[in-house]
Amino acid sequence: MDAPLLEMRRLSVVYRTSGGPVRAVRDVDLTIRKGDIVGIVGESGSGKTSLVSAIMTLLPPKATIEGQILFGGRDLYGLDAKQRRALRGNGIATIFQDPFTAFNPVTPIGRQLVEFQHWRRDLDDGARWRRAEEMLVRVGLGDPGLRMHQYPHQLSGGIRQRIGIAAALLTDPLLLIADEPTTALDATTEMQIIELLAEARSMVDGAIVFVTHDMALVGAFCDRVAVMYAGELVEVAPVDPAFSALRHPYSRALLACDPARLPEGCREFPTIPGHVPAPFARRSGCIFEPRCGQAAPVCATTPPPAVVAGDGSIVRCHRVPA
Amino acid sequence: MSAPPFEIAPDGALVAFLRRWGRALAVLPLRLCSGWSGAVGLVLVLVVVLCAVAPDLFTGQSPTALMPKDRLQPPSWAHLLGTDQLGRDLYSRVIHGAATACRVALTSVALAAACGLLLGLCAGYGRGLLDSMLILLCDAVVSLPMILFALAAVALIGASIDGLIMIIVIFTTPTYFRVVRSQVLVLRGAEYVKAARAMGASPPFVMFRHLVPNLMGPLLVLMAMDIPAVIALESGLSFLGQGVPPPTPNWGAILGDGYTYIRQAPHIILAGGLPIIVATLGFTFLGEAMRDVLDPRMATGRFGDQR
């Protein structure tokens, strides 16, 4: 078995603030191998944005890492700036949430797509142009010749996101990170993009990380799901249409909140009472305990152990039997 | 956690108004002194204002007493800044000149800001024909050369303090008008303005309850930064002989005299220039500190406490 593509060992992201250090991400252990499609699900305050920024090595200056992120066996934060930059265009590609700002507004698309391939020194500009045009066809844009000469503001959100996917795929990434790629799009356009991403997995010789707050999208697209709550990774489990493998109380409560999954005749919308604890108000014990419907006295005092199953799934809960 | 400086209580509009501004004025100086420039500015401005309101604290001599025998004396213990060509004590002239400078500057800035506020509100909120006409008027005024116009006006109606104030107000209102208007255009599309209109608020209600409180910050900063410019302007006009009429003590006039007698008595220029520099510096520092204190709050609406 070769080395995992991406491995996070006890990863924490700490921000320096005027009120003291704030841990946006705490002790995350996650392993992603080639061919995986992993969804990272979390609401606001879950730390998923910081986690993804840490993987992309694009954290703001006042943030530091504790623990390790290993990419292909190499410690990402042990590399110097030049090596990290080389990785960002080459090994790790990102599709961003906002297709409206991901592109330079004053340069035509074609030129930008050619520039994204600047690591391919074996190709000249003409070859890169042709490669870009082929990729546009593969993401479903009918007339690539026209698109290559257009400016971002002339295109709609759905088309821009397709081009964003094309740009990411052009770099032949080992790791493709899709950071809430459909949040800014309508439902019908969202479906098109998800279908496109599903086809794109055959074009990615590596792994895909799909970050979202929408559990239903994860169900449509991913093999495994990692659920984050208030900076901690509370569960990692395989995905099936009924999400039967999810056992953590938060995961199940979050699933139950999806209005599309409500049983018939249910007149009240379920919620999770309470609110996410502020980063500087952490307590001992389980992070979810104040809002958990199944909390036991032990949950308030001791942090839950990580129960690791044979298929690699992890649950951090006292109430889930090993 | 200190209380935010602005608040509208749901009772007694006047009481609310006083409470609001009273608290703001009390809290502001403390925040301004957090940086050295703000503290320096505050101190200088206080000195100038004190000279203006209570000149007798600083000097016992009269600024207008003529002592021809002592004309053009260099600085000495009797006359800290020397005397001018008519034998008047320059130090007391400088101190009393602060009153003139403050009166002209503060009055004209306040009037210009008030006019600019009203016109800018009408133009920005009403848009359409009224807006276009006001912009045209504003551009016309701005394109007139102020100094020449001032000289012509003085030639027509004679020199006086009120005339000077009027001229300055006419020529500085367009700046306030533009700033207020552009802010109103932005705020007009804000959700809370739409919400108020959806509830049935009339335009005056929206303008004075919602727009003005959100405009006050940038406006106050502009006013503070404008005062040194007006002081310099007034001094310039007086230097040309067309400003405040004699014998009222006036920094620009002193500077003018110093220019005439520069060979015999170079200390006069010092007496005239120094207070202008001090006042300009003080108000500029104060204005910048105010901008730092008020503006970030304008942008985000936060008063230092996080959720």
């Binding site: 439902a187 249409p241 009240e268 919308f269 | -």
Partner: protein, 352 residues
């Protein structure tokens, strides 16, 4: 049953091009919303569903006189108004607005950042000149009604979370006991785990106060559970209206079917995207993306017709009255169509 809201033939247009273009006569008018006929009976909820650019927010604004009405009129509880709010006090619009409460998409931004919660809640009373009331007590009562503690009276909008701000804006909207509440995307920007709070509040207020509600949303499952009737908008026109359950179980317009099945099984994604408002196609505006489009659709724009009691549709060839399509809620395989696509492309990928 008496109608709280009756919109008749409403159209909203906006002129493009600057002053010079208009003087020259080359300025164009784009139609944002056209031919709207909607009715809401007392105490019922109508969900207005559409994607971005469909004009649903513009329609809501036109109902309260924030947008100029080019054609048609709005009748609220017998009070009728046309044109839009002009003049110093707005004439008929002023009376009409007392009967309507509005909550906006961005709840925090819809509260004046310089006013405390108490002041914002007192604003409706002040605007309508209701003096002699203890405004602070009224504000406290409103907070109780929406389930917020009285300590919030002295907080500022930036000190509220998204859900709390939304509840404050709902409190403000019901302050004068209106007959109709317009809720524009009540769950926008809220986490899934707190959306229920706001929605449950709207349901209970509707029940307790006998409030009619115009719910604007793009979230179909929410619309289905909250509304008795539903109207689907596409590019500024209503393409289908009817009882919520019937429309979901049995959509008759191809666009409605696409929306209903967007996350369901057997779904086929629509091709292309909605055309821009500036270049509306002739004929049926949905024809370019419609899987059932025929020649007549591209030539002639369909009018709104009634196909059953209480159901209206704007289509030349409504879908057949089929057996209920797979319902999203009852089907745990939500996303099955996409799932199938994912499975197809997986190939020999290893499973951990």
């Amino acid at each position: 049953m008496s109608l709280v809201l009756d919109i008749q033939g409403l159209a909203v247009r906006r002129a493009t091009g600057g002053l010079l273009a208009r003087l020259r006569g080359t300025g164009r008018e784009i139609t944002i919303v056209d031919g709207i006929d909607l009715e809401i009976a007392a105490g019922t909820t109508l969900a207005l569903v559409g994607e971005s650019g469909s004009g649903k927010t513009t329609l809501a604004h036109a109902v309260v006189g924030l947008e100029p009405i080019a054609e048609g009129r709005v009748v609220v509880d017998g009070l009728s108004a046309e044109g839009w709010s002009q003049g110093w006090y707005g004439g008929p619009w002023r009376r009409l607005r007392r009967q309507i409460g509005v909550t906006f998409q961005d709840a925090v931004a819809s509260l004046d950042p310089r006013m405390t919660v108490a002041a914002s809640l007192a604003a409706p009373f002040r605007i309508h000149g209701l003096r002699g009331l203890d405004l602070r007590a009224e504000a406290a009562r409103l907070l109780d009604q929406v389930g917020l503690p009285r300590a919030f009276l002295d907080r500022y909008p930036h000190q509220l979370s998204g859900g709390q701000a939304r509840r404050v804006s709902i409190a403000r909207a019901i302050a004068l006991k209106p007959r109709l509440l317009i809720a524009d995307e009540p769950t926008a920007g809220l986490d899934l785990s707190v959306q229920g709070e706001v929605l449950n509040l709207l349901v209970s207020l509707g029940r307790d106060l006998g409030l009619a509600c115009l719910l604007i949303t793009h979230n179909l499952p929410v619309a289905r559970r909250m509304a008795g009737r539903i109207a689907i908008m596409y590019l500024g026109r209503i393409v289908e209206t009817g009882p919520a359950e019937a429309v979901f179980a049995n959509p008759r317009h191809p666009y409605t079917r696409a929306l209903v099945n967007a996350r369901g099984s057997g779904a086929r994604a629509l091709v292309g995207e909605a055309p821009s408002l500036a270049s509306r196609p002739s004929g049926c505006e949905f024809a370019a993306r419609c899987p059932e489009a025929q020649a007549r659709c591209r030539a002639e724009a369909p009018a709104e017709t009634s196909i059953e009691a209480g159901r209206r549709i704007r289509c030349h060839f409504p879908l057949a009255d089929a057996s209920p399509s797979r319902e999203i809620a009852a089907d745990p395989a939500a996303g099955g169509g996409l799932r199938a696509a994912a499975v197809r492309s997986k190939g020999a990928n290893r499973r951990i």
